[in-house]
Symmetry: C2
Subunit: 205 residues, 2 copies
């Protein structure tokens, strides 16, 4: 994570690890998903928003009901999600997003997103929800919020034979950098406030 | 299901069952959950709203990864949901609800709802989402939409030693009857439109 003053913070659990700039991210031990879950808990605790990760969809085939103890699922399979992973409500807005990490430095490959997720993003946008993706470029330690309308543009262009990824420069230009916050970690509401300010500005033009 | 003209319709899969008014509901073979899932599919197909049921939360303990075939979950447990079951977006509004059936005829027992769900309803309401429950009185074949603010009132009263259920008469008076729609089945958006009309009316007073 980059800080405004250029310094880097480490979380408590990295203090025993040897210093290594290459290992910074893995030493932190927090995936983007864990960071977002931490942010959501922080937002709920501070009464700022109510956003939650949806449970992993599972097809349950066989369940054992032992006497005097909890039911045990003995056979189940992972199902493909038909929506995005996170949604909730913020300032009266419906918020819906997917979070993706890439090891690339120069672009975000569209292969990270599934077609049904793109369809879902389009539907949420149609119904005036705030739809976006949170993209982390792990090697750069940079995280951005990019509105779905851009993702949809690139997706449609890809289907017509266009490029298969969104350039880092495009995301940096059109997305919103998500600042690191010690408690919220990926403080995406800060970026979302900028999206909302832009929307209001556009309404008054 | 009651129809405006007082007649009753049967779905195709009931035609082979012997006629019996007592068995009507079970003959239809559709639980409230199945009806709502059908409604949500209909709404998405008609581009009216984007509302989905959240997957059942499962704690996965042991997964087998056989060669050349899909991963098999060998041990998992049901977790208690920390939110309500359904949410999505309609006309720019964040929609969040829980669906409950009761075999009672005169009241809806509050024991059908968990404390963390009540907390969640309160949070969604605070952030200006449309929070409600869909209640079906199975023996009466009546389904209602009741805004969470009423549920919260009864819940708080219960905690102070008040009654442990919401009377059917109260729900009929303050909730919105959900009409049956052949394709949408529980056509709750119709009831939600009345909630929205009331909200707009209140804003202009």
């Amino acid at each position: 994570m980059r800080y405004p003053n250029g310094s880097r913070k480490r979380t408590a659990n990295t203090s025993t690890s040897p210093p290594s700039s290459k290992k910074d991210y893995s030493n932190r031990g927090m995936t983007l998903e864990e960071d977002i879950n931490a942010a959501n808990m922080y937002y709920v605790a501070r009464n700022l928003a109510s956003v939650h990760k949806k449970p992993t969809p599972v097809q349950i085939v066989n369940v054992d009901y032992p006497k005097r103890s909890a039911a045990v699922i003995k056979e189940a399979y992972f199902k493909q999600a038909s929506t995005t992973d996170y949604n909730g409500v913020y300032k009266g807005y419906h918020v819906d997003f997917e979070a993706k990490e890439t090891r690339n430095k120069t672009s975000f490959p569209l292969s990270n997103i599934h077609e049904h997720q793109v369809t879902h993003m389009e539907q949420v946008t149609n119904h005036c929800g705030l739809s976006f993706i949170i993209i982390r470029f792990s090697p750069l330690e940079e995280t951005y919020l990019l509105e779905s309308k851009y993702v949809l543009d690139f997706w449609k262009s890809k289907e017509k034979g266009g490029r298969k990824s969104i350039p880092h420069a495009f995301i940096k230009e059109n997305g919103y950098h998500i600042p690191f916050h010690f408690q919220a970690r990926v403080d995406y509401l800060k970026a979302l406030d900028k999206v909302l300010a832009k929307l209001e500005e556009d309404e008054h033009v």
